[in-house]
Symmetry: C2
Subunit: 606 residues, 2 copies
């Protein structure tokens, strides 16, 4: 991986920062956030502005360019990758380390008095705007919205915004019709006394209308907004997608139906002016509900007194709790599926996945890494770094796919020769952490961040750790990362876990320059039976949906307790039963023999 040379680009950007064609007054700093206008985690190529200006293309990072400096904030998953991808015009700001300044503090320390800091108001979430604007103002600077995106002005070969055909999901996949979802949403709106709800997150639009798309790689979503009133539905979407008779049928666009379920289709680009019109026409007490992560531009369209902002929308929360059809789909999606370089192995994994029923696309770029590449947490093999798999190095494969019945995400770490005692020791601590979360029993209403330390305890005991969260919410044929729940030491605003939610359980250990280990299952939150029942609260635990053997060769059995040993054996027994039966049905005898071999029970020598 050689860094992107950005000297010329930065020079151009610094010019437009002073160009009256784009800015009312020159800006002394320009912020390039990670996201798109929907605050998506994964974004379309046309929105990869931060990667364009810096070369760093990880999923999280914010660039700030001033007259003199260019700095990039990212988190522990990306320290190595960002350092490799950026040239020395850039300073890497390692978030989470004690001495790293916040963006605000850094700006205050480098800017001349009374500076203007510019940002695209469509890209920055309202809550971030507020925090940053306040911090800058108290130091005598100003955060200003720059309507034209300054990166776009210098990005001469910027790709077009995608506009791919839609996929309709029927009731057998979704369990609930879009009309019933709208009705449920309106009753939440009535509860909070709001008249309008603005849907800004792409996966929330997709979920609400039981539609999927492929505008963003790995995420089955499409560019759209929606504005739901108590009696109106407006869908903002581009292209001739609404000409497709099947889509028109699905959305009942040509039926005569109750006016409150009649969808008005409008151009994607008209959201701001329509929302401003809504904002201008509000009578007192008519509130408009937005996520506090909605863009500053859309939030400002509604006068402050009329805004009702929450960190999680009712759609986000409803979507996280999977219904019976969705849970059943997720279970099905996890049953099979499916020497060499990292890339060939990754391609092979995709090939196997694509042969499965209901396959749509991958759910993220496959991480296929061997030896030292494994320590780059979000590594994606490219020709310059491609290493040959060997019998001397640990191999890590993190792969997932979108199926019409669900979304998968699994990581396994393997050795094709003889692992060292140290590699086995580290693997076993990671496994102990994985089991501690997977087998945890906890009260109903517990927030996921309270389980994070369970995953680390065995590593901590030996002075080890990993610099990423333990788990993320998983969508149902939707984004592989979704809120509002998760398992992380960082997430304090997570919503309590409840039965039906789906998260990943993926502790790891990474040794820079040597190897990476991660063991990841997708797990479903289910009720737990306990001996007692304090305050009648009920208890929860997890059921693994992922059924892929964990390589026993990597386990130092004597570091496991008997309980942990039983967990592995029970898990492997279930893999044999469920996956074995399916392999037998498909007549895949070689795979079946491999499965039996890989799921031999562990025996602990006392």
């Amino acid at each position: 991986m050689s860094p992107k040379i950005t000297t010329e680009l930065l020079k151009q950007l610094r010019q437009v920062m002073k160009n009256p064609k784009y800015v009312q007054e020159p800006v002394q700093a320009y912020i390039v956030p990670s996201g798109d206008a929907h605050q998506s985690e994964y974004i379309a190529p046309c929105d990869c502005r931060r990667a364009f200006i810096s070369g760093f293309d990880g999923s999280a990072g914010t660039a700030i360019v001033t007259e003199q400096h260019a700095a990039m904030w990212t988190d522990g998953r990306y320290f190595l990758q960002a350092a490799h991808q950026m040239d020395n015009n850039w300073t890497l700001m390692k978030m989470g380390l004690k001495d790293t300044p916040t963006q605000e503090d850094w700006l205050v320390s480098v800017l001349p008095e009374g500076s203007k800091v510019g940002v695209d108001p469509f890209i920055i979430p309202a809550d971030q705007w507020k925090r940053m604007s306040k911090a800058l103002r108290s130091a005598g600077h100003d955060l200003v919205p720059v309507k034209e995106n300054l990166i776009d002005t210098i990005w001469t070969d910027c790709p077009q915004r995608p506009c791919k055909p839609l996929i309709m999901l029927d009731l057998s996949y979704t369990g609930v019709s879009w009309r019933d979802k709208i009705t449920a949403l309106r009753s939440k709106m009535a509860e909070r006394k709001v008249m309008w709800f603005v849907v800004t997150a792409l996966d929330e639009v997709a979920w609400l209308f039981n539609l999927r798309g492929s505008d963003v790689e790995y995420n089955p979503v499409f560019f759209a907004y929606a504005v739901i009133g108590m009696n109106t539905i407006r869908l903002f979407i581009d292209g001739d997608r609404m000409m497709d008779p099947a889509v028109r049928e699905h959305l009942q666009l040509d039926s005569t139906l109750e006016p409150e379920f009649k969808i008005q289709v409008m151009p994607y680009g008209s959201i701001l002016s329509e929302l401003q019109a809504v904002g201008a026409g509000l009578s007192p007490k008519e509130k408009v509900w937005l996520s506090d992560k909605a863009s500053y531009a859309l939030t400002e369209a509604i006068p402050k007194a009329y805004r009702y902002l929450t960190p999680y929308t009712p759609i986000c929360i409803a979507k996280a709790v999977k219904n019976a059809s969705e849970t059943e789909g997720m279970r099905r999606a996890h049953v099979p599926k499916g020497t060499v370089t990292e890339i060939i192995a990754a391609d092979k994994a995709e090939e196997f996945r694509s042969q499965q029923k209901d396959f749509v696309e991958l759910s993220f770029a496959t991480i296929s890494s061997t030896g030292p590449n494994g320590a780059i947490i979000h590594y994606k093999p490219v020709p310059e770094t491609n290493r040959t798999l060997s019998v001397n190095e640990i191999y890590l494969l993190d792969s997932g796919a979108q199926y019409k019945d669900g979304t998968t995400d699994v990581t396994r770490t393997m050795h094709f020769g003889t692992p060292s005692a140290y590699e086995k020791e580290c693997f076993t601590y990671v496994l102990k952490g994985h089991i501690a979360v997977s087998a945890a029993i906890f009260p109903n209403g517990t927030k996921g961040h309270l389980l994070d330390s369970f995953a680390r305890s065995a590593l901590w005991d030996c002075g080890l750790d990993y610099l990423h969260g333990t788990g993320h919410g998983v969508g149902s044929f939707l984004n592989v990362h979704e809120g509002p729940c998760g398992i992380s030491y960082k997430t304090f605003a997570d919503e309590p876990l409840e039965a039906g939610m789906i998260v990943s359980d993926e502790p790891g250990y990474y040794e820079d320059g040597s190897f990476g280990i991660r063991i990841e299952n997708v797990v479903l939150v289910i009720p737990a039976e306990t001996k007692y029942n304090f305050k009648n609260r009920g208890s929860l635990t997890f059921e693994p949906l992922t059924l892929v053997p964990i390589q026993t060769k990597m386990i130092d059995v004597n570091l496991l307790t008997q309980k942990e040993c039983n967990w592995v054996n029970d898990y492997h027994q279930k893999c044999r039963e469920v996956v074995g039966a399916e392999l037998e049905r498909q007549g895949r005898h070689e795979a079946l023999r491999w499965l039996i071999r890989e799921t031999e029970p562990l025996v602990r020598v006392q």
Copy 2:
């Protein structure tokens, strides 16, 4: 415990809420917060306004009285106690339960349109004012400051504000002189570019000047404020305490010394006008540093643009990390000290404690409870509830004291007969949680709230839990509860743990109407030796400072792992060595025989 009859008092309060002598316009609701003007947890009798109006005298709770309603918000520790102490004029709002409205939501639901909500601006912290004012404003109401405290106007026999003599601590106790503390504070101020620092918390004033007092029961503090400039020191304190030659000598009031260490003594009541004068005389860029928990009245004295607010002050953070003299003192304070009703047992505990060297007073009201009283988490025995200890019931004793060399806080749960299998089972789960925290190894910089679930895991496995945090910071001859660190699922704003901090480790289990169990040690954060050292971060663990046997009769040994069993045996061995030696030196042979008997090693039958 019979409830306080409050019908007449509420009638009087509702009258003054409309009396133009006290309020510019009538207020439709009046908030009575828990604290005093310093946001102290424990308060002087003259500040117990919420207890006066409602009868509920727990350490946490907020009362709100409207024309029609009277409601009390408190947390899980106090549900039972508040229900017992309040008459049916009052509605108990159980914080932490899902369906309990916030104070703001409740006010909005019960108030007529355009209401005024009054509160004493000296009592409400600025951050609470801001949150509540915003929520009320967005619903069309107003939060208004009522200068005269309305409870005081109807509290005819309100006690006087205490003004007791001061205790001076020399270097052998504090390790650092007050002059050096001021110098360190000024360098923190320079770092943040602030010119003034306002000390509002009583324990911060006491710590800064190496003084102690006894104005508030159990907390060795005195009523005072301080305003530290880069070249000036102002101490706001009442009474003739500053006439004491020893105090004058300690503070060098009569010495000719550098002007920047010259202390100006001013009346306690003049803080607001002095601060307003400071606020009026600020030049641009001269910031004033206040805690965001400082009162609204004092915060408002500084124009908004000049305020620098932080959740934890530099004094709070410096105070939490104990130096060598303080740590040594805490160790000494925990070595000895020291049938029957609950009250006699509590008095006896105080008597034993008071015989120890450097004893000053208790650090909180002794909790001495037997049988069902044990389930009232912050129970304090009074004649109406006083139960006789028996051989059939579990006895819980939570007691602590202030010594000149440190502050102690210990809970032990005992049975004087034969505990039932269920009682032993619950006790053993609590013990497992206590050990899991005490023996935990975790990276430097870990926040305490990430350890909270370790204390609950064994209880959760069986469907049990407890409705309070696991630990609080402990002062050094200061408040027994202090920030900025702690171990709780609730505290997200806690500062990272570092070596030298002192916290309690006190999981419990409470069965309403039957019994209460809690096992509490005070523990010191110390560096841990680990096999590896990830990213050179270093690891931490805890050393118990409390050395009191844990009743082995209550332990079901077969529920312990061998590691847990070893922990108990090692702990008891240390009790024998350290406390045994001291008992021998004091010639207390009976106590020594008891100690030996109670610390017999556990043997696990496999």
